[in-house]
């Protein structure tokens, strides 16, 4: 199961063994931000294929935010997130060991499956 499927399930159910150690609201933000980032990364892939001037980017973090600090804690432990992502200074990215195929699949799945609806008014 790709990490994206796990995050979508977590977003929908708000249930995870990670909640034993992490504030639930922070975990929701973590998952939402990573899914949003991966979805945007897929758009960047498409733009690159179209020859448009863009580049893939890591997810910028702000360590003053508690959810970012919690994200670092998650990645310091043994879990599926730590197998896929790493934090380098102020940025989240795929771990060096993650293959290009897996990264592409994660972006694609986020683009296809994470499509949040807007609420107007």
């Amino acid at each position: 199961m790709n990490i994206v499927d796990i995050m979508i399930e977590l977003r929908n159910t708000r249930k995870s063994e990670l909640l034993e150690h992490i504030d639930p609201d922070n975990l929701t933000v973590i998952v939402t931000e990573i899914l949003s980032w991966l979805r945007l990364e897929r758009k960047r892939e498409i733009w690159l294929e179209q020859g448009r001037p863009t580049a893939l980017k890591s997810l910028a973090l702000n360590m003053n935010y508690p959810w970012c600090a919690d994200l670092v804690k998650i990645l310091q432990n043994d879990n599926v997130f730590a197998e896929v992502f790493q934090v380098d200074g102020k940025h989240l990215s795929f771990k060096d060991s993650v293959t290009d195929d897996y990264r592409h699949e994660a972006r694609l799945l986020a683009y296809e499956k994470y499509d949040p609806k807007m609420i107007t008014g």
Partner: protein, 166 residues
């Protein structure tokens, strides 16, 4: 990472209609992130909670100029604010920007608390957001849109279609 200011902060021109029977004024508006947070903080329990979440980067706020707001979000000139999960987008030219932040921030808070889209966007969800806005307006000395909560319920029932139901 934090609030996104995409051409909305600083000067903005133009006016747009609002779907809440409020008047737009065509004027240049200048806000800083701190001004917005400081104004809503300490007014009501909900507005303070929203301010806290914005400060902690858990609710992302983007204040956009009219053109960017409508083109990027694909909405009409009558929309003044919207929420997508934990992100809220506010029209910079709105004359009720603080109220709009509380309204959309309430939707974002619902998301963080685990409510599904169907409940957040339901009539009950909109009533909740309008009541939070109403209480904030009364305490802040801003123009109060509705006389009481019953008027809010009537407004929502008349103007918001049932979602997901025939």
């Amino acid at each position: 990472m934090g609030a996104g200011y995409h051409g909305g902060f600083g000067s903005t021109k133009g006016s747009s209609k609002k779907d809440k029977n409020r008047d737009h004024k065509s004027q240049r508006k200048h806000y800083t992130r701190e001004q917005l947070i400081d104004f809503i903080n300490g007014k009501t329990t909900i507005s303070s909670a929203i301010a806290d979440k914005i400060l902690k980067g858990m609710i992302k706020i983007s204040v956009l100029g009219d053109e960017l707001f409508e083109r990027a979000l694909g909405v009409s000139s009558e929309v003044v604010g919207l929420a997508i999960d934990n992100k809220i987008y506010i029209r910079a030219s709105s004359s009720t920007i603080y109220s709009d932040i509380v309204h959309e921030g309430t939707h974002a808070m619902d998301y963080l608390q685990g409510l599904p889209y169907e409940k957040i966007s339901s009539r009950d969800g909109e009533i909740r957001a309008y009541i939070a806005e109403h209480q904030f307006q009364k305490v802040s000395g801003l123009i109060v849109q509705f006389t009481n909560e019953d008027e809010i319920r009537v407004h929502v029932w008349l103007n918001y279609k049932l979602r997901g139901k025939k």
